[in-house]
Symmetry: C2
DNA sequence: CGAAAATGTGCCTGGTATGAAAAAGATCTT
DNA sequence: AAGATCTTTTTCATACCAGGCACATTTTCG
């Protein structure tokens, strides 16, 4: 699943499913839950089906009834996520330092667990019209950061076109290929990890 | 701190402080963060000072910029909480079973960590106009569930009047007293725990 | 040291989405 | 078939949020 827009990112938390799970585990109906929370059954139905994003006061009313904290609805999100794209304008770009460089927090922007063990990190140059890499797969996680140009990454079946400054995370246990589209090539920083302990931070100081 | 209203409960998460902490740790100004999130500086200022409760899409915009999940804003809430009151109408009351009884999930309603070790559980009867217990204090946590009548519990300096069906949690390391107010007595189920391991569930099946 | 710039905050108007209330249709059970 | 439960409408009030500008305070620079 690709999460790119704000709505997609919120849906990954599956707030509605969790509310419905809590309600059905107590064998309550929408009307009964509405009496406890002070919310209308119609609104509860829309929340459970993900049709609306409840406000925090509304979500807290539900959480209080079931005796859970708000973190109950926001934990284990993206567990089943396989692909995450963070565009340049959505990523944090700090002001330039005195040296004229600008730290790129693409690790942070991808919300990547910093406890994974670094396996490989290399600079990949894809010439325009060059050959597309054959599909391959391995364990761990793969992070891509586009330094310049355009790179097309195909994870599963959907090709993703990445521009300069875009960041990509995906679970490489599905076949994936790198390539280019059109007349423009691209350069990418690729980091491969193996999900384990022994964190090793890569302080990538890049220009964009 | 007593958390009773929805607004109070939300403020305990200190969402605004966490946003401000993230922003200042990156040495960003409100204008710069606004450029990244698409939020106006004025709105960011109100969010950080807790003047408004941001919507989930808005909060996710901020979270995505800093590369954190939404759980970042909802964890470790109520760490400093000492007193929590859950009124009867705010508590989950399941439909009656075939036997005519109704399970009271006051443990759940108080969001009490089920890993604490049970120390004591007793039924306390407070006659009207009876003597007020002398202040005492001990470790662990104390949970009170009013079975009938009215009971006044004083934790610290603020007396709390509890009616039938109300539930109360407080950290008993501050002096507290039990008593009654007016001409009505009360009956309470009191559970005392010692914060430790070895969970032991108390299935209190009560009528109200 | 004084001026200029940056920063945070307050106030206004308007757009948008949440949530209530109520009624009608859909689904499932008895 | 009858009934309960869930879903899908509609209208309306409320709160968030943007965008603009004004003001106070602090920092930076001339």
């Amino acid at each position: 699943m690709v999460s790119e827009t704000i709505a997609d990112g919120l849906e990954q938390y599956r707030i509605g499913s969790k509310v419905r799970g809590l309600r059905q585990s107590r064998k309550l109906g929408l009307v009964q839950l509405g009496e406890h929370t002070g919310l209308s059954p119609g609104m509860l139905s829309k929340i459970e089906r993900g049709q609306v994003f409840p406000t925090l006061p509304t979500l807290l009313r539900i959480a209080m009834v079931f005796g859970v904290g708000l973190d109950h609805f926001f934990t284990d999100a993206g567990v089943q996520r396989t692909v995450t794209v963070v565009r340049r304008q959505d990523r944090l770009r700090l002001p330039e330092t005195a040296g004229g460089t600008r730290p790129a927090y693409f690790f942070e922007s991808l919300n990547f667990p910093a406890t994974d063990r670094l396996m490989d990190a290399y600079l990949a140059v894809f010439p325009a019209g060059g050959p597309t890499s054959s599909p391959h797969r391995h364990d761990g996680a793969e992070l891509v950061f586009i330094l310049g140009g355009q790179v097309a990454v195909t994870v599963g079946d959907a090709p993703i076109l990445l521009d300069e400054g875009d960041a990509l995370y995906f679970d490489p246990d599905v076949p994936h290929t790198y390539g280019t589209i059109g007349s423009e090539g691209g350069t990418a920083l690729v980091v491969v990890t193996a999900g384990g302990a022994a964190a090793e931070t890569v302080a990538a100081t890049v220009v964009p």
